[in-house]
C-alpha cells in the first residue's frame, strides 16, 4: 500500500467508515481497483476489531482501542442516579449491543469503564456491530435465544421487535425508581417504544430534521443565511438561485427531494402543504395520491426540473452525507449527520430550522433506544446499567457533551447546547423539538420497509423523467394499499 493509501486507510479507520462509504470516497478520488481493494481490506479490519476485542474480554472491552477525541472525565457530572435495585452480590457480566461509528465507540468504552468503577461487581461487555450488519446479526441472535442483555433498537424496527416479544417491559423497574421522571423525555422520543400500554425501551435520542447549510457557498453567492423567517417558497427560490456550474464543479442548491421510498418523507415535504403519505399513527390508509399530495410532490419536482438537486448519477460517487463534500448549499439531515459533517467538511457550515410551509411548520423527528432483552440472565444488573446510561448524567456524558445531539431527556439539552462539539445553530435543533415542529409521524409500523420498497422503484421512474408525478402516485397507492391492509386488522 502506498503512503497516501496508508494515510487514507488510517483516516477512514478513524472515522469508522463502512465499506460502502469507502467505495464512494475511493471513486470520488479516482483510486484504482488495487488501491481500493487494500483500503476496503483495511476498513473491514477496523469495523470488526472493536467488536472482537469487546466480545472476547470484558476487561479488554473497557480499554479504548485508541486514544479518544473526548477526555474521559469531560461531561461526567457525577450526578448518577441512586437506584432502588440492589447491586449484585457476586461478580457478573452483562453484554450490550451497540452500532456506533469507531470514534463514538471509544466514548462508549469510556462510559463503560467509569460504570464498572462505580459498580465493581458488574463487568460490561460491549459489542459494536457496523450499521449495515446490525439487524441481521441480532435477528439471528434472537432466533437462537442468544441476544445480549441490552440491545440498541432503532425506531423503524422497534414495534416489530417489541410485538415479537424480544424485550421485557420496563414499567416495573421505572416505578421503583424515585427519581426516574418519564416527563423529562421529549414526547416524540417515546412513541416508537410504547406498546400495549407499556414501555419496552428507553430512548437515548430523538432528533428533528434540520436544514444544514454551507456558509461558504452562501457567502460566495451573497445570500443571507437561512433563519426563522424562511418559508419553503424562500428555500426553493434560494436553492434555484444558488445552483450554478456544470459537471464536477456544479453547485446544487438543495441536496435532495422527497421520495416515497423514504420513511421520513411526509413531515418535511407533505405536511407543510396539508398532505400526508399514510394516515398516522396507524398507517392504515394511503393518502399519497390525494390532490394535495400530488400538488405538493409536483411543487418539489420543479426543483429537479431546474437542475437544483443532484441527479442519481451525481450522487453515485459520494459518501453520505453528500453535503460534506461542499457542492451542496442546503440539505435536510437528522442531527446524527453532525459527526460525519464535522469530520469530513472543509468549509464553514451551520444548522437552521427546516422552513415552514404554507399550512404547517413541520419536520421529521426520529431516534433510537436501548432495550433489555428477554434473553438477559442478569436483568437487575442490566437495569442498573440502562438506568445510568439513559439518565440525565448518562445522556450528558454520551450525547450532550460530545455534541452528537438530540438527547431524549429535556434535562440533558443544556449540556448539548453548551458543548464545544455542537454546531453554532444547535439551539435550532432544540427549538424544533420544544416548539413542536418535530413530529414523529413517520413510517414506523412494521409495514414501513415493505411500503418504501414498493414505492421507491415506482418513484425512480419520475426521477428518470419517464413517468408523471400523478401517474406514479396513483401506482404507489395501488402498490401500497394491499401492504397496509394488515394495519386495518
Amino acid at each position: 500500500m502506498g503512503k497516501h493509501e496508508e494515510e487514507l486507510a488510517r483516516e477512514l479507520q478513524r472515522r469508522g467508515m463502512s465499506r460502502r462509504d469507502v467505495l464512494r470516497i475511493g471513486l470520488r478520488m479516482g483510486l484504482g481497483a488495487a488501491s481500493m481493494g487494500l483500503l476496503l481490506a483495511a476498513c473491514g479490519q477496523t469495523a470488526s476489531e472493536p467488536a472482537k476485542d469487546a466480545a472476547t474480554d470484558g476487561e479488554a472491552a473497557a480499554e479504548p482501542a485508541s486514544e479518544s477525541i473526548f477526555d474521559i472525565t469531560a461531561g461526567d457530572t457525577g450526578a448518577w442516579p441512586k437506584s432502588a435495585i440492589a447491586e449484585p452480590g457476586d461478580k457478573i457480566e452483562i453484554s450490550v449491543g451497540h452500532t456506533w461509528d469507531a470514534v463514538f465507540f471509544e466514548r462508549q468504552l469510556q462510559f463503560d469503564k467509569l460504570f464498572m468503577q462505580r459498580h465493581p461487581n458488574i463487568t460490561v461487555k460491549a459489542e459494536n456491530t457496523p450499521w449495515g450488519e446490525y439487524r441481521q446479526k441480532y435477528t439471528a441472535a434472537a432466533a437462537g435465544n442468544a441476544m445480549p442483555d441490552i440491545l440498541y433498537t432503532q425506531f423503524s424496527w422497534a414495534q416489530e421487535t417489541i410485538r415479537s416479544g424480544l424485550y421485557i417491559a420496563l414499567d416495573d423497574y421505572i416505578a421503583k425508581e424515585k427519581d426516574f421522571n418519564l416527563g423529562d423525555f421529549t414526547k416524540p422520543s417515546l412513541v416508537s417504544y410504547q406498546y400495549d400500554g407499556k414501555l419496552w425501551g428507553i430512548p437515548y435520542d430523538e432528533g428533528p430534521g434540520n436544514l444544514y447549510y454551507n456558509k461558504d457557498l452562501f457567502d460566495a453567492a451573497g445570500e443571507a443565511y437561512p433563519d426563522d423567517s424562511w418559508d419553503l417558497e424562500k428555500l426553493k427560490a434560494v436553492a434555484i438561485k444558488m445552483t450554478k456550474g456544470e459537471g464536477p464543479d456544479k453547485i446544487f442548491g438543495l441536496g435532495e427531494l422527497p421520495s416515497p421510498g423514504d420513511s421520513l418523507m411526509a413531515p418535511n415535504y407533505l405536511f407543510p402543504f396539508g398532505a400526508q403519505y399514510l394516515s398516522e399513527p396507524k398507517e392504515d390508509e394511503c393518502l399519497i395520491n390525494k390532490p394535495e399530495a400530488v400538488t405538493a410532490m409536483e411543487w418539489w419536482e420543479e426543483l429537479r426540473a431546474k437542475g437544483a438537486v443532484p441527479s442519481p448519477a451525481d450522487l453515485q460517487n459520494v459518501a453520505w452525507p453528500a453535503f460534506q463534500f461542499g457542492k451542496i448549499a442546503m440539505t435536510l439531515q437528522g442531527s446524527w449527520a453532525t459527526p460525519p459533517i464535522q469530520a469530513g467538511s472543509k468549509f464553514k457550515w451551520d444548522i437552521a430550522k427546516w422552513p415552514k410551509g404554507p399550512k404547517v411548520h413541520a419536520t421529521f423527528s426520529a431516534g433510537s433506544a436501548y432495550m433489555i432483552t428477554r434473553d438477559s440472565k442478569n436483568v437487575d444488573a442490566a437495569w442498573l446499567y440502562l438506568n445510568e446510561y439513559i439518565s440525565t448524567a448518562g445522556q450528558t456524558y454520551m450525547w450532550a457533551s460530545t455534541g452528537r445531539g438530540s438527547p431524549s431527556r429535556l434535562s440533558a439539552w443544556p449540556a448539548y447546547l453548551g458543548s464545544k462539539f455542537a454546531p453554532a445553530g444547535a439551539k435550532n435543533v432544540e427549538e424544533a423539538m420544544s416548539q413542536g415542529i418535530g413530529t414523529h409521524d413517520i413510517l414506523d409500523q412494521p409495514t414501513g420497509p415493505r411500503v418504501t420498497q414498493a414505492a421507491g422503484p415506482i418513484w425512480d421512474l419520475v426521477v428518470a423523467g419517464q413517468k408523471s408525478v400523478k401517474d406514479a402516485l396513483d401506482e404507489i397507492f395501488a402498490a401500497v394499499d394491499p401492504i397496509i391492509a394488515e394495519n386495518r386488522m
Binding site: R19, R20, L23, G26, L27, G30, G32, A33, A34, M36, G37, L40, R135, Q136, T139, A140, A142, A143, E160, T161, S164, G165, L166, G247, P248, S311, P312, A313, D314, Q316, N317, P449, R450, Q453, A454, G456, P457, I458, D460, L461, V463, A464, Q466
Partner: protein, 314 residues
C-alpha cells in the same frame, strides 16, 4: 471434406460394466478428491437447505415461533408482481451474460491458442481480471460506466455521442451489468483454452488433406470437439448468473425502478430486510426448481449439438 463426427458402430453393453484395478483406483481417487466438499456441504449447507424447505411452509420472522401456513407462501408467489420482475431480470441477466460471455471467452481462447511469442503473458493478462474480488470489480465498473466521467462515455464523446446514464437509467442498467460480466470471462476462457489444446491435431491434418479452409476447420473440427466444453460452461455459467448477487447489490442495489432487481437480491431483501423467512425460503426453492428445469432443458437440447468423442450412440 467430411464431417468429423464418426458413425456409431457398436451397441453399448447393458448394465454397469465391472471395473478393472486401474478404474477402481481412479474411482477411489474421485471420491477422495470430492470428499472435502461433501464434508463441508454436509456440515454447513445440507441442514440449512433441508430446514429452508420446512420453513417455506411457515410464516416466520425469525423473531418469534414459526406458524405453519401450508402452501400459502407458494400460492402468494402467483400474485407477487415483484417475483415475476425479479425472475425476469435474472433470466435476462443469465441469458445475456452467458450468451455474450460464451462468445467472447471462446474467441479469446481461440486467439490465445495461437503459437506466437509471449503467449503466456497474454494469457495471464486476460485471466487476471477474473481473480479480482467482486467488490473491487464493481467499484471499477461504476467508474467505467459513470455518466459524466466514465471511460465508456468519454470514448463515445470523441465521436460526438452523448452516452447514457448506464447505471442510473432503467433501460440501460441491466445491459450495463451484462457488459460488466465480461470482465470475468477469463475463467471460462481458461477452460476453453484447455479444451482447445486437447483437440487432436490429426483431425485438423485430415481436414486440411480434405481441402478445408480455416473457417471449415473451425466449424467442423473445433466446434464439435469443443461442444462438451461449451455445454459445461453454459450450464455452470447460467446457474451462477441466475444466482448473481454481489455486484448487483454493490452497484445498483436492484435499482433504478427495480430494473436490476435480480432474484438473489429479492430473496435477500425478503429474508433480511422484511424478515419474511418463510416467503424467502419459498422463493429460494422455486429458484432451485427453475434452475433444475433450465438445466434439464439444456441437457435435452445438448443431445442435438454436443459431440462426445468416443461416445457410442444407439
Amino acid at each position: 471434406m467430411t464431417n468429423a463426427q464418426p458413425t456409431p458402430i457398436t451397441t453399448p453393453p447393458k448394465g454397469k460394466p465391472k471395473l478393472g484395478g486401474m478404474a477402481r483406483k481412479e474411482e477411489r481417487s474421485f471420491y477422495l478428491f470430492i470428499l472435502p466438499w461433501i464434508i463441508g456441504f454436509l456440515l454447513f449447507d445440507a441442514g440449512a437447505i433441508i430446514a429452508s424447505f420446512g420453513i417455506s411452509f411457515t410464516n416466520w420472522s425469525a423473531l418469534s415461533a414459526p406458524a405453519y401456513v401450508g402452501t400459502l407462501n407458494y400460492s402468494r408467489l402467483i400474485a407477487d408482481s415483484v417475483f415475476y420482475k425479479a425472475m425476469g431480470n435474472s433470466l435476462y441477466y443469465g441469458l445475456g451474460s452467458v450468451g455474450l460471455g460464451t462468445i467472447v471467452s471462446f474467441l479469446l481462447a481461440l486467439l490465445l491458442n495461437q503459437n506466437v511469442w509471449g503467449m503466456s503473458l497474454f494469457r495471464t493478462i486476460f485471466y487476471l481480471p477474473s481473480v479480482v474480488s467482486g467488490i473491487a470489480v464493481a467499484i471499477l465498473w461504476i467508474m467505467i460506466l459513470h455518466q459524466d466521467f466514465g471511460l465508456i462515455n468519454s470514448f463515445l464523446a470523441w465521436f460526438g455521442i452523448k452516452g447514457p446514464g448506464w447505471l442510473v437509467q432503467p433501460q440501460w442498467a441491466m445491459p450495463s451489468l451484462i457488459l460488466m460480466s465480461l470482465w470475468s470471462a477469463g475463467g471460462s476462457m481458461v477452460i476453453y483454452l484447455a479444451g482447445l489444446q486437447s483437440v487432436p491435431t490429426h483431425l485438423y491434418e485430415a481436414a486440411e488433406i480434405d481441402g478445408a479452409d480455416t473457417f471449415q476447420k473451425f466449424w467442423t473440427v473445433t466446434v464439435p470437439m469443443m461442444s462438451p466444453v461449451i455445454l459445461y460452461n453454459l450450464i455452470v455459467g447460467f446457474i451462477a448468473s441466475i444466482q448473481g448477487f454481489v455486484t448487483v447489490y454493490v452497484m445498483t442495489n436492484g435499482g433504478p425502478a427495480n430494473a436490476t432487481l435480480v432474484y438473489g437480491l429479492y430473496i435477500y431483501r425478503t429474508a433480511f430486510i422484511n424478515f419474511q423467512m418463510g416467503y424467502a425460503s419459498a422463493l429460494a426453492w422455486v429458484l432451485l426448481v427453475v434452475i433444475i428445469l433450465i438445466t434439464v432443458v439444456q441437457f435435452i437440447v445438448a443431445r442435438y449439438w454436443v459431440y462426445y468423442e468416443g461416445d457410442l450412440k444407439s
